[in-house]
């Protein structure tokens, strides 16, 4: 999967957030705030990635246990998917 082109990553006072573009404002009528891990996932999703690849990258960067990170990544991706931020 990869990220939708319909959102722009913005920064306000050091906080990362995703802003919907054009018609997407209607169904994603909220700003989506990202922490550092979320931001990294979003950046990686510029290209097609699996949950496992994302988890491995995060585990390296945050020096965490890949298995545990994978669960977090899956729930994050579910959330993004539900809000229409991902493309297959």
């Amino acid at each position: 999967m990869r990220r939708s082109q319909d959102f722009r990553l913005q920064r306000v006072g050091g906080q990362d957030l995703l802003v919907p573009l054009g018609p997407r404002v209607k169904d994603a009528n909220a700003l989506i705030v990202l922490n550092a891990a979320g931001r990294q996932v979003w950046e990686l999703l510029a290209e097609d990635r699996t949950a496992e690849e994302l988890a491995a990258a995060l585990a390296r960067r945050f020096e965490a246990d890949p298995a545990r990170v994978l669960a977090d990544v899956r729930s994050f991706l579910d959330d993004l998917g539900r809000k229409g931020l991902l493309e297959p």
């Binding site: 913005q10 306000v12 957030l17 018609p23 705030v33």
Partner: protein, 355 residues
Amino acid sequence: MTGAAADYGALVRSLLRRAAAVRQPAHGTFELTSRCDLACRMCYIRRGAGEGTADAGELAASDWLELARRAAESGMVFLLLTGGEIFLRRDFFDIYEPLTRMGLVLALYTNGTLITPEVADRLARAPASRTEITLYGATAATADAVTATPGSFAAATAGIEALVSRGVPLALKTTLTRRNAHELEAMRRMAGEWGVPFSASWLLARRPDGGPSSAEECRLSAAEGLALESEDRASADDGTERALREAGAAAGENFYCRAGRAAFVVNPAGEMNVCSLLAEPAARPLQTGFAEAWARVTGYVEAAPPASAECRACDARADCGRCPAWSMLETGTLTEPAPYLCEIARGRRDRRRRG
């Protein structure tokens, strides 16, 4: 890894607080026109609707877009388009549609009267995060009297319905005056029937240019306003103003709001100012570049003198909404007590003391 904030307003306020700490011009307001099709007596802005964009000395659509691009490069993320009445500009969508693709969080302020089904269709294709429409009454008799424009109530109502039926995110608000305050609850019911959030405010400022607006004749007395406030039926200021205000600057500074720290306003002629009520320092972002203009605005706020000794020693200060813009409008200085606000603040203080 993510959060969609439960309370959108609280999220925006906290983002602007963070932006203010690093002087990021995160919140822009573009006053696209000062022309309006209504003629509200209490209004601080209006010019007649008859003139064209160029006659009225307004920036061209291409200038607004250039300005938006430069501002976005410098950190603008939130952009409010307001007037006057924005839909009086025939080229409104030449400005608006490109903005919807720039990754900005857009808001629109309008009186709703010019929102035809065609305008509503175009807005629905790429709506702003929030479109706020001002109601002037709950009946044609009252609203048309406040706006001094027969038919304005019917036109605004049609505009609201056009947006509601197309699912455009909407909020209604009203500014209470002596003429329409008695219809507050009826307006709240109307909004409820449309399923749209509603807020009421009653603090009316004079015109910054010193022109005739009759704000003083129209606005509620301090006692009337305080009575509404104590029953939680209306607040002095509307939500955006409150968001911009929520004191982020070190307590005791004359400018305690986001103006000149995270927020700026550009007037129809392209001058960048601290806020809509304070037309200073009239920086020229299109001529000097955005960064230089923003530096002038932040510099103006930082160099502002402290509040008057009287305000600093005042025991109603915690209850007082005085700011440099209000001082300027009511006293011609950035620092002196504004008598109308004093009355309001002392009323609040006394109520608090009574418990």
